[in-house]
């Protein structure tokens, strides 16, 4: 007695499965994989993200005897950008560096899912790790400083684009750089840059002109522009330009990561 189920179990599949169905199914599995394997990490991370976001919003007032509204506004609308970047750009590459050190990296790469599925699932994890903290930071900022915030629907594409650019850049850092130590160093450098050398937390006029110009070539300044434009009613003519620059960074990073991941070893 051989039934149909047993036959298909023995014989290899004769049809290649691809297309949207396969992609969605793989995506759901990968997302579940990430969420389950990182469940503890994600919970701790969310708490840390909320605490650091709120901490930054409240802590900045200690820098001043009396904090000016502009300073409070810039910090409060800049912290969401940092919250969104934290998982994709900073912690993600460090996680991959740890996986490379411990050997689980090769195992994860051996899974039968396409590169776009892996990237999409990871992007979702980054959003899950960033958005709650972003919301809490904004609420606390509003309560503490009573800011003139004006949230427009553009916040949705702004958040998605910022997280996507950060995640893809982090993806490229994690996979396209061979040495885990180098990856760690570069992500540390990125932390430093996003806190102090990119005009995210303070007005661009407070940094030297050449540094502001240099920042035009990097994505962080533009992330701050689109998020801030969506959170305040101050008109900013550089929003379209910012989306374009971010788009270029997304494509370049995804191409670098995709090329490395697609190579045979």
């Amino acid at each position: 007695m051989i039934d149909a189920g047993a036959t298909s179990f023995i014989a290899p599949r004769s049809t290649v499965t691809r297309g949207v169905d396969r992609w969605t199914r793989d995506y759901a599995s990968m997302l579940r994989w990430h969420l389950v394997s990182l469940r503890l990490w994600l919970m701790v991370l969310t708490v840390v993200q909320v605490l650091s976001g709120v901490g930054f919003v409240l802590g900045i007032s200690l820098f001043f005897a009396h904090i000016p509204v502009t300073a409070a506004l810039f910090v409060s609308t800049g912290v969401p950008v940092i919250n969104l970047l934290m998982v994709g750009l900073i912690l993600g590459p460090q996680l991959v560096a740890d996986q490379k050190s411990s050997g689980s990296y090769e195992y994860l790469r051996s899974m039968p899912v396409s590169r776009s599925v892996s990237a999409a699932a990871w992007y979702t994890v980054c959003l899950i790790g960033g958005i709650p903290a972003m919301v809490v930071s904004l609420v606390v900022a509003q309560l503490r400083y009573d800011l003139p915030l004006h949230i427009s629907p553009m916040i949705v594409p702004a958040v998605l684009a910022t997280a996507l650019a950060g995640t893809m850049l982090g993806y490229a850092l994690a996979h396209a750089i061979g040495s885990p130590m180098a990856t760690r160093l570069i992500t540390q450098l990125c932390v430093f840059v996003i806190f102090g050398f990119a005009p995210i937390l303070f007005p661009i006029t407070q940094m030297p002109g050449w540094l502001a110009d240099l920042n035009w070539w990097f994505p962080f300044r533009h992330m701050a522009v689109i998020i801030r434009a969506a959170l305040t009613s101050v008109p900013d003519s550089t929003v379209t330009q910012a989306y374009l620059v971010l788009g270029v960074w997304v494509v370049a990073s995804a191409a670098a990561a995709g090329w490395v991941l697609g190579r045979r070893q």
Binding site: V48, S52, G55, F64, G196, F202, P203, Q206
Partner: protein, 271 residues
């Protein structure tokens, strides 16, 4: 045959020689430390230059970066940033890079390997302390130079700076080392370090006057090492800004002892 017959035991030619050696005493400890120092430096050599460079960039970078947060950098703000910068350059090395290095060693298994070596563990720890202190100094000095250049701050350097800098380096490295050893899970170590550096960079009166803090927070800082590090460093760099350094030195000494005790306790245990 003649060569062999001169040895006491031809089957185990080296064993007898080693057994007669005394494995204790000051000279043995110093020799072990020197060997460990060579071993640690040898392992680190590939990254030592890079670490010093990062340390220098971070020190100098923080000096410049704090200025960006202010619409105007007034003379008193500049003085606080400039004299806080060397302290800020010392803290990440002890509280972030050193524990990070230990985490890496634990993940790779090197940590256990080093412990299995026939050198006193106190000599192994001392070699790490020394090496990291040496790595910390260039960044600290550069941070100060950059601050003077960027903000044009008048400093009056007193001999107090030498004990101050040593105390700060020591406290940061001993506490960081003790923490990295005492916490078993590498992930928790990472988390604690990152949280700490965050608290230090934002909520500690290192680059701004302590009077801007709420009273309760200042009271907390009086017993934590960070504010006291800033006080003794500032006292060595200026005259008249910080007058009460005795209490700060006592707190720093207490933290150094605590770090050493934790380290001694962890490395002295059998598993």
């Amino acid at each position: 045959m003649t060569a062999l017959s001169t040895l006491a035991d031809p089957l185990h030619p080296f064993e007898t020689q080693h057994r007669t050696e005394l494995r204790s005493g000051v000279s043995y400890w110093l020799a072990s430390m020197a060997t460990m120092l060579r071993f640690d430096f040898g392992r680190m050599r590939e990254w030592a230059a890079m670490m010093v460079l990062i340390q220098m960039c971070m020190g100098a970078g923080m000096v410049i970066m704090y200025g960006f947060f202010y619409p105007q950098v007034t003379a008193s703000r500049a003085l606080f940033i400039a004299t806080g910068a060397p302290t800020l350059a010392l803290i990440p090395l002890g509280f972030v890079m050193l524990p990070g290095g230990i985490v890496q060693q634990k993940l790779e298994g090197t940590f256990e390997y080093i412990w299995s070596m026939p050198a006193p563990r106190s000599a192994q720890a001392a070699s790490t302390f020394l090496l990291y202190t040496l790595l910390a100094l260039p960044g600290t000095a550069l941070a100060l130079l950059v601050a003077v250049w960027r903000y044009d701050v008048p400093l009056s350097i007193s001999p107090l700076l030498i004990p101050s800098a040593l105390a700060c380096a020591l406290v940061s490295i001993t506490v960081g080392y003790g923490m990295a050893l005492a916490i078993k899970s590498p992930m928790v170590t990472n988390l604690v370090c990152n949280a700490l550096i965050f608290v230090v960079l934002l909520f500690s009166p290192i680059v701004y006057p302590a009077s801007q803090l709420p009273v309760w927070l200042l009271d907390v800082h009086r017993v934590l090492p960070f504010y006291n590090m800033a006080v003794v460093m500032r006292a060595g760099l200026t005259s008249g800004v910080e007058t009460q350094v005795g209490a700060s030195f006592i707190v720093l000494a207490a933290w150094t002892v605590a770090g050493c005790v934790v380290t001694a306790w962890v490395i002295g245990r059998r598993r």
